[in-house]
Amino acid sequence: MVKQPRVAIRNHTAEANLFARRSFIALLGVVIMLLVLFSKAYNLQISSFENYQTRSNSNRIKLLPVAPNRGLIYDRNGVLLAENKPVYSIELIPEQIKDLEKTVTEVSKLLGISAEKQEKLFKSLRSKRRFKPIELLSRLSDQQVALFSVNQHKFPGVFIEARLKRYYPFADLTTHSLGYVARINRRDAIKLEEQGKEENYKATRNIGKLGLEKFYQDELHGKVGHQEVEINNQGRIIRTLNFTPPVPGKDLTLSLDIELQMIAKRALSGKRGAIVAIDPRDGGVLAMYSNPSYNGNLFVHGISTKNYGKLLSSKDRPLINRTVQGYPPASTIKPLLALTGLEDGVITPETEIYDPGFYQLKGVKNKRRDWKKWGHGKVNLSKSLEQSCNVYYYDLSYKLGITKIARMMEKFGFGEYTGIDIYEENKAIMPSVEWKRARYNQPWYTGETLSVGIGQSFWTATPLQLAQAISILVNKGRIKVPHLVKAKTTYDSQDGTTSEQTSRIENIAIDEKPPIVLKDDKNWDYVLDGLHNTVQNKGATGYRAFIGHKYDAAGKTGSAQTANLAQDEKYDASTTEESQLDNAMFVAFAPYENPEIVVAVAIENVAEGGGATNAAPVARQILDQYFGDREIVSKKPHPLHENTYGVDDD
């Protein structure tokens, strides 16, 4: 009742007006605040729209790289030498599994995973993110794949993952030429980054480490594809938005003939050595085999330390590619020295010297023995090759001098890379005055020139260089760079919806270097004729190994000393350590007219005999395989004389 009069005297109109004014001010405030909110929204949604749209997209869109399929490698007849085989592994995504421990234990029991491995797995499970697949077991056997497939419904979140892995069906037969791929390591990764290729290798696990796989890495690899996926905040893929298919790598077709490789392996079995066969018409390498070899597949899966240690410590050094390692060429280079002599004019085909069984420089006590104790008697160019007469070449090299020899031999590619398409090639050594000065800081001695004359001293040549030099010889100076790859098959980007691909085959152009031009072209024929005689003439050094062949072969033997013998010391294989035993060499080509194949053989530390008994038969097996039943008759008139020197070795 107290309040009642107070209300009565209040000025309601004034109060109402005051309140209305204040309400209006409040409404103004509300409108201003709403404008502030609007301008903030405008700022975010219109002014900064692109920025936030980009950030929204980068939140949800991930570009997953898709590895291209590596190009396949075929031999000249289309036999697959390097393929991509699916390898199965069992993987699991922890996020999708209710009872992880139980699942792992049961899968392990099913597939026989050891407790030790399970322990490791649990350890890694703890540290990894829950939605990323984790490998339980890799390289499953067919049986394990089948076993798991049948039971898969029991294990949600566990699945079989198939990946393509490189596989070399011929294993050790092709390792030294093809090389192998293996896991990209830190060094590879740094190199890829330096070359700006890391984007292209985002999804790639393996990289060519050796041989053709390394040389043609870029082309075999192809171009990475991309899968554009939408992910949620857990990183789980919700859907694929876009797919840019990868471009598969180029397939390579080699000039190599896998059957020749097989023969090469068989012929060298139990020996250390190498065989190189080249088609002199285009420089294509027909065979390239180094024995012993090793299985490149071991490296693809990551070789165990134990196995690698074995390969490294093996006395036979299988890791070394002997086709591109230097050996003393020995007598195999005599035809090239003869050519140098003819070209220089110090000899003619008719020039005869007398070989008493030794060679002695004027004013020097030291006698250099011929391999034939009592000498070859009178020797001309052809006979010098047929009989591999050392005294003839001591004399010739003495007359020529080291510089003339070195210059000519460099033209034939000695001491230089041939340019074959693998990186492991060795230059070997073509000694010269300059070389010795640079290498040893010593003057050149005439005695060393004489050794060079029979392909010894410092001179080393790789079997590949020897094959190439003979190739140049049979091509009469034309130099065709040897190569393993004959053709490449390019695939266009493959449409994600179809498996059809369009492809183009491009042949590799023959790479030629400037030819060797002689003053007199007939000199080529004199030397080639001598090589022909070496195989065709009865009693010549190469005759025996080629009795009964039908493809008109020519060749030259060689036996290189690896031990330094004192003067007058007689070499006796039975008392010499194995690593000091002679190397056997042989170079051959066939047919004599229009040659199709050049072969170089090197065999280390043969027990008895030299090139003629050890290396020549190996070369013959290659040639026999190459020509098969083909019969080639020489148009050249039969030799006028039949040599009956009664020798069987150089």
Binding site: L34, I46, Y52, S56
Partner: protein, 371 residues
């Protein structure tokens, strides 16, 4: 003409009989329908969530309808006892309340647990309006001081729980009454100065570490993009990437792919902006403005100082929800747990809000009965 006018009058009186203010109801329905759709989208198409949301809405609507039937001046009568009980409950919460989400807000009465701070959202403006309407307007200085004290006590008690959002809403509901009652501008200016002087004290003595962190994060969210800044960065990305027209309903990648936290509750505005763009945002703001205008219209037309002040305070406090929520989600204000009224997935606050609108409707429709 006459009969037509008479019909209109009759129709209006039908709604008035039900004590429903139609324009206000339409505005609220707009928000509620919109909210239903967005909750559905934000929950990733989970109809169970939407059904729960609708259930709570129904309870809130019933509460509004019942309260609308109560003559508004009844609240004035009960203001003092309600205030005293409310303060008592707040003290009880601090003493016996149980802890949820790191704050002590709930009081368990055995059969039901509730947040006394929610009831205080209505009790404080009722009490202040009662107090001030006893005297002539404009209010005298000493009365203003008393009113302030009456606001500060519950505000501090709630801030202590700690519940910054609610204490902010309660403080403003009281302050709005004082402002609408015609507090002099000098006083308002003085308070503003005093308030800013109080800020460092607040920072050093009253704010908890997590609250300080929120302020720091607000000032520079990019400093810790995966930690405390994550919410606000993802929210801004959601809003910004909506652009002018939005990504479309159920098409917001930030929300559908779960980059956005608290999608269907406090951050639902980000979902809405992402999916409906600036066009949708503008429409939403217009709806809120319409509701505020209708609320102020009711206040201005109320016939008693108490109802005027109460209606004005309820309306403006409703807008504080809107401003604080959108401001925080768009990075304009620090993160404070305030829902977007009638759009966010319903919680206790929705019932309080609708009860407030019930009072507003009562004020709008009971005006004939002067006590």
């Amino acid at each position: 003409m006459r009969s037509h006018k008479h019909d209109q009058q009759a129709q209006r009186s039908f709604w008035q009989m039900l004590h429903i203010d139609m324009p206000l109801l339409i505005g609220l329905m707009c928000l509620i329908i919109l909210g239903g759709f967005i909750v559905y989208s934000a929950s990733g198409g989970d109809s169970a969530t939407v059904i729960r949301h609708i259930k709570r809405l129904s309870i809130a609507f019933v509460a509004m309808f019942i309260i609308a039937q109560i003559p508004p001046l009844v609240w004035r009568k009960w203001a003092v006892p309600m205030y005293i009980v409310g303060i008592g409950l707040l003290v009880a919460v601090l003493a016996f309340g149980h802890v949820g989400k790191g704050a002590q807000r709930w009081l368990n009465l055995g059969f039901v647990s509730f947040q006394p701070s929610e009831i205080m959202k209505l009790i404080v403006p009722i009490t202040i309006a009662w107090f001030i309407s006893q005297y002539d307007l404009p209010t005298k200085f000493k009365h203003i001081i008393i009113a302030f004290l009456m606001v500060i006590v519950p505000t501090l008690l709630i801030a202590k729980q700690p519940d910054l959002g609610t204490s902010l809403l309660i403080a403003s509901s009281g302050v709005f009454v004082i402002f609408l009652a015609g507090a002099s501008w000098k006083l308002i200016g003085g308070c503003a100065v005093l308030g800013s002087a109080f800020a460092p004290v607040l920072w050093m003595f009253l704010m908890k570490d997590y609250q300080k962190q929120r302020v720091l994060t607000f000032l520079n969210p990019e400093q810790d993009p995966l930690g405390s800044g994550y919410h606000i960065i993802q929210s801004k990305i959601a809003i910004g990437s909506g652009g002018l027209n939005g990504k479309g309903w159920m098409q917001g990648t930030q929300s559908q792919l779960e980059f956005l936290p608290e999608r269907h509750t406090d951050f639902i505005f980000a979902v809405f902006s992402e999916e409906f763009g600036l066009v949708g945002v503008t429409l939403l703001l217009v709806v809120y403005l319409a509701i505020v205008m209708r609320g102020l219209w009711i206040a201005v037309n109320a016939q008693h100082a108490f109802t005027k002040l109460l209606a004005g305070s309820i309306t403006l406090t409703f807008f504080v929800y809107v401003f604080v929520n959108i401001g925080m989600v768009s990075g304009l204000l620090p993160v404070v747990g305030v829902p977007l009224p009638l759009v966010s997935y319903g919680g206790t606050s929705m019932v309080t809000l609708m009860a407030g609108f019930g009072i507003l409707m009562a004020i709008g429709t009971h005006r004939r009965f002067i006590m």
